[in-house]
Structure formats: structure tokens, C-alpha cells
């Protein structure tokens, strides 16, 4: 006699554990009044250079800290530490993305004041980070002018999970014949209505506008939370 398999409905999100941790983190940040911003991009887009500028610009007015993910080195944390804000490295080993529990353990034993802003720089990867909620309030996806205007079409999921797009290295736009209109169309195609900002870490172009955007997003978010 052959037994017939029995079918049982379960309905469980595979990343349930990550989502539970992310929700707990979000709640913790909410209570502390901390606005949490994550950054994702390909390797080499300039996340670290951009973040270094942002941290330096914010540190006089706000309590700011940063977590930075990397597969193997703490080079980025060393660079970010030049901005003189607390920085902690998360070395992921063979894992190609940050997960909520890595953020949670990095925050454990890290004595921080009640922060206004916490930045989380993900591992350079436009694929894997898209599936993992880190408890952040704002997810920024960065692309540089040297990467090609169709990058959003090649990595639609990460653009879909992000809240705003930042185009970096805009000072090189003319040299690489970057077509801003095509890039903008690609972004809007995968994520209609997405905010797109252009910056140059080298010349400082667009940084003030970005900081205004960030501030407005924070205010909006805190107002939303208060409801």
C-alpha cells in the first residue's frame, strides 16, 4: 500500500524572521526618535564618499552615526570615521547583503546617544539587498553616471524597494556623455513617481539639495510616526 501525501497549508513568508527583527528595529528607532537611512548601490558608485560628505555636513547640527557593511574589509569604516561621527563596520563574510539581525547585533554593545540620524551603508550589490528589510525609514539607491542610464531597467527590484534615487559623480556627466533624460525615464519606468537627485561628491553640486530633501523626509516621517 502506498501512502498518499497529505497537503497542509502554511502561508509563511520565507524571510519572516528578518521581517520580525526589522519591525522590532523600526519600533526601537521610532521610540528613540532616530531617522534611519540606508544606502544601496553597485560596488564603486561612491556610496562611501557620498556618505562621508553627508555625515560631515550633518554632524554640527545633529547626533549622527553610521553602520557600514562590507564583505571583507573595514576600509570604508576607516574612511567614514574621518567625518568624526561614530562609525561601526559590519563584516558580512560571504554574505552579499546586510540582514536585520546584523544591524541588531551591531547596535548591541554600541554605546550611542539618542541619535537624530543613523545611516546604514549596505554591501555594494544591486540584487540581494532588495529582499531584506533593515528597519530603515528611507532607502536610497545610488547609481553613478559612469554605470549606464539603463541600470534601473536591469535591476528593477532594488529600485522598486527604494524610496529615492541618487545619481552620483554628476561632475563626470559630460565626459561620459551621460544622458540624464534617459536615466530619468528608466527610473520612472520601474518606479513611477520616484524622487531623483543628482550629486557630485567632488564638487559638492547637489549636496545642499539632497540635505534639504533628507531633512524634509525626516520631518515628514516624524510627523507620520506621531499620528
Amino acid at each position: 500500500m502506498t501512502a498518499t501525501p497529505r497537503l497542509v497549508e502554511v502561508r509563511q513568508h520565507v524571510l519572516k524572521q528578518n521581517d520580525v527583527t526589522a519591525r522590532a528595529l523600526r519600533e526601537r528607532f521610532r521610540e528613540a526618535g532616530t531617522f534611519v537611512v540606508s544606502l544601496v548601490s553597485s560596488p564603486g558608485t561612491g556610496k562611501t564618499a557620498f556618505l562621508e560628505k553627508v555625515l560631515s555636513a550633518l554632524r554640527d547640527r545633529y547626533l549622527v552615526a553610521a553602520l557600514v557593511g562590507d564583505l571583507a574589509t573595514d576600509n570604508d569604516a576607516v574612511r567614514l570615521a574621518r567625518s568624526q561621527v561614530p562609525v561601526k563596520q559590519i563584516i558580512t563574510g560571504t554574505v552579499c547583503h546586510l540582514e536585520a539581525k546584523m544591524v541588531e547585533s551591531a547596535l548591541t554593545d554600541w554605546s550611542l546617544p539618542k541619535l537624530d540620524y543613523l545611516f546604514i551603508e549596505n554591501v555594494g550589490n544591486l540584487v540581494c539587498p532588495s529582499s531584506y528589510d533593515l528597519g530603515e525609514d528611507l532607502r536610497l539607491v545610488l547609481i553613478s553616471v559612469t554605470e549606464g542610464e539603463d541600470k534601473p531597467l536591469k535591476y528593477p527590484v532594488i529600485f522598486n524597494t527604494a524610496d529615492a534615487a541618487i545619481i552620483t559623480k554628476i561632475d563626470l556627466a559630460a565626459a561620459v556623455e551621460f544622458d540624464a533624460a534617459t536615466a530619468w525615464t528608466s527610473i520612472q519606468s520601474v518606479r513611477p513617481g520616484m524622487t531623483v537627485l543628482e550629486v557630485s561628491t567632488k564638487t559638492g553640486e547637489g549636496l545642499v539639495k539632497f540635505l534639504d530633501f533628507l531633512e524634509a523626509a525626516k520631518v515628514d516621517h516624524l510627523r507620520e510616526r506621531a499620528r
Partner: protein, 116 residues
Amino acid sequence: MHELSIAVSILEMAEEEAGRQGAARVTAVHLKLGPLSGVVREALLSAYDLARESAPPALTGSELRIEATPLRANCPTCRRVVAIVSVQHQCCADCGTPTPDVVSGNELEVFALEFL
């Protein structure tokens, strides 16, 4: 390549559920997978094969069956849930209005298990 860790999570969930159900063996795991999940079907199937080799005996004979879920969103023009052209062109398949208001397509969900 995060499909391997996803495959391991699926096997762990199946093992846990088998324990709860008092089942000796899991023969199939049914998964809903959306185009916005960030997980590639073929990569996940290969990863599952690999992860299964080092899974507990109750799972070594299990098969992963993936059901692809469609991308659907609220269309502000048609005022209803509609099919979306594609992840690259996120607009209403009926009228062409762009819409970011996705209602399905993020699924990465085990929805059923078969036990023996």
C-alpha cells in the same frame, strides 16, 4: 547570490512544520514567488537542490515547487487592481498609466507542504 540562504530558510521552515505535524517526511514544498521578491526562480531551484543534500533526512526527498505570482497594482485611472506590463515598465496593462501602488508581486512565501 542570496538564493542559498533563502533555500536554507525554506528547508528550516519545512522541518519545523513537519515536526509540528508529526510527519516523518516532507515530499514537497510549495512556494509562491513574485517578480518583485528579488529571488530568481532557477537560482533558487539549484540552491534548493544543493541545500537539501545537507538537510535532515526528513527533507532529503523533498521537492520545491514554485508558483509564479503575477505583478498587480492599483491603477489610478481604471480605479481597480490591474495587471502590470512588467517590472521594467510599471504601468497598467490596460490603459498604460504608470503606477507604483503594487498589491501583489512581492511574494516569497511557503503556502503549502506535502507530508508522508
